[in-house]
Amino acid sequence: MIRLKHVVLGAVGLPIVILLGAWVGFFNVGASSGHWKVTAWFLQLAMRSAVRTYALAVDAPKTLDSRGLPAAAGHFARGCAICHGEPGEPRSPAVMRMLPQPPDLALTVGDWTDAQLFRIVKHGIRFTGMPAWPARDRDDEVWAMVAFLRELPKLDANGFRDLALGGSQPTAPAALADCTRCHGGHGGGRGDLVPALAGQKEAYLFASLQAYARGDRTSGFMALPVTGVDPADLAALARHFAAQPSVSADSDQVPAEVIGRGQQIAEDGIPERNVPACSGCHIGSDKNPLYPRLDGQHAAYLERQLKLFRSESRGGTRFWHIMATAAQRLTDDDIRAVSAFFSKRSAGPQ
C-alpha cells in the first residue's frame, strides 16, 4: 500500500538517484548501440509533436515562391546534402551512423506540411545536430528552402545539379565557385532574387562581403560562403565581379505606366511623402562608390531588398540606414515601380 511517505520519498529520492547516476557516468552516451526502443519512441513523439504544435503559429503562403529555387538548391548542395543526401549521390557511411540518422529528405519531406518544414529549417531540432537557419530575420530565405524541399523528390541527379550548380565552373577556385553557384559564371545572378554582380562597383561589393562576414548584413545563403574567407580573397572576388561586363537582367514584361511611375520616383522622388529621388545616390558615375549601381539589376531582388530595408531587417555597408530611412516611406506599389524601372534601365556607361 502506497503511503504519502513513499510518494514524498520518491519525489525527493528519484532526482537524487538520477543525478548521482549521471555524475558517476552510469548513462552511456555512446552512439554505437543506438537508443532503447522506448527512448527512441519518446524522442520521436516529442519532436514530431513539438514541430506540429509550434508550426501552428507559422503563417504559410498559399503558393510557394519558386524564384528562390536556384539559390536554395545551391545552399542545399553546399550545406545540407552532406547529411540529408542529394539525388544520385550515396551518403557517407559516417553520416549513416549518426544518432539520430539524418533523414533522406527526398523520401521524408512529404511527411511534413509547409509550415512544419519552415519551423524545422528556421529553428533546427535540438539534440539531433540539425542547426537553425544562420540568419534569424530572413524568413524569405527559409521559405525559399521550403519551396526547394518540395521540388527535391522530383529531381534526378542531372536535374538537381543543373538547379544547384548551373552556374559553377568546376575549375574555379573554391571561393569563386561558392559565388558562381548562385550568382552565375558571369555574375549575372541565377534566378530573379539573386543579385547580378557583374559591373557592380568594386567598393560596394567588397563592403557588402565584409558586411556579410561581420554579420552586419544577414543572410543564410551568404553566411556559408563568406565565413572564414580571407579578407584579401573577398577583395579579389569583389574585383573579379566588378570587372565583368554588366548584362541586362530581366526580360519579363512590365506595363509601361509602372515603369513610368518608377522613373518619376527615381528621378524626382515623392516630395509629398519625403521620399528623396533615387538618382541623388544611385545614378551617375560621380556618386559615392559605396552606393550601389542599380541599372539592369533584377527587379525581384531590388523589391526584396527595399522591403528588407523598410522592415529594418537589412544592414549592409555603413550607409545602410540612409536607405532604410528612404525605404520606410515607400509603399509596395512604389517599390514595385521603382524596382521595375531600374531593372530596365540601361546598364551602359553614364
Partner: protein, 151 residues
C-alpha cells in the same frame, strides 16, 4: 530640505547653461579671423564678402560641393546654381547668411553645421534627415565649410 534641493537644481542648471554658452562661444569664433590660429584653413573673405548666387555656389575650393553631391545630399536639398535640386529638406542656397540652423537650435557656425550633418537627430528631435556620421570627419568638415560659405 526642499530649499536645498531647489538651490542644488538651480546651481546645476546655471552650470549647464554656462558650459553650453562657452561651447557655443568657442564655436562662434571658428568663423572669425582667429580660426587660422586654430589651424583651420578658411579664408575670412569667403565668409564675410557677399557674393552673387551662382558663382558662389559653384566655387568649391575645399571639395565640399562635390562631396555634397557625391553622398546624395542633393536628393533632399537645393543649392541654386548646382545639381542639387531636392525639395524635401530646406533650401541651402544661402545657408551661410542665416543666423541660426536646425530650426533655431544652433548658432550658424561651421562647427555647428558639421555637428548637424553628423547627428541631426541629436540636435533636432524628430528630424527627417538621417545621420551622416559614417562619413569621414574631414569630409563632413569640408561640406560644412562649403555650406557656411553660401551667403
Amino acid at each position: 530640505m526642499s530649499a536645498n534641493v531647489g538651490l542644488f537644481l538651480l546651481v546645476g542648471c546655471a552650470f549647464c547653461f554656462f558650459a553650453k554658452s562657452i561651447g557655443w562661444a568657442a564655436a562662434d569664433e571658428l568663423g572669425e579671423p582667429r580660426a587660422t590660429a586654430l589651424g583651420l584653413t578658411i579664408a575670412p573673405t569667403t565668409l564675410t564678402a557677399p557674393q552673387p548666387d551662382n558663382s558662389a555656389a559653384l566655387r568649391d575650393p575645399g571639395g565640399g560641393l562635390s562631396l555634397f553631391l557625391r553622398n546624395g545630399c542633393g536628393a533632399c536639398h537645393t543649392i541654386r546654381g548646382t545639381n542639387a535640386h531636392g525639395t524635401i529638406g530646406p533650401d541651402l542656397s544661402h545657408l551661410g547668411s542665416r543666423t541660426a540652423i536646425g530650426a533655431g537650435v544652433l548658432p550658424n557656425t561651421e562647427e555647428a553645421i558639421a555637428r548637424f550633418i553628423a547627428r541631426p537627430d541629436l540636435l533636432k528631435p524628430g528630424v527627417r534627415m538621417p545621420a551622416f556620421d559614417m562619413l569621414p570627419q574631414t569630409d563632413i568638415q569640408a561640406i560644412a565649410r562649403y555650406l557656411k560659405a553660401l551667403q
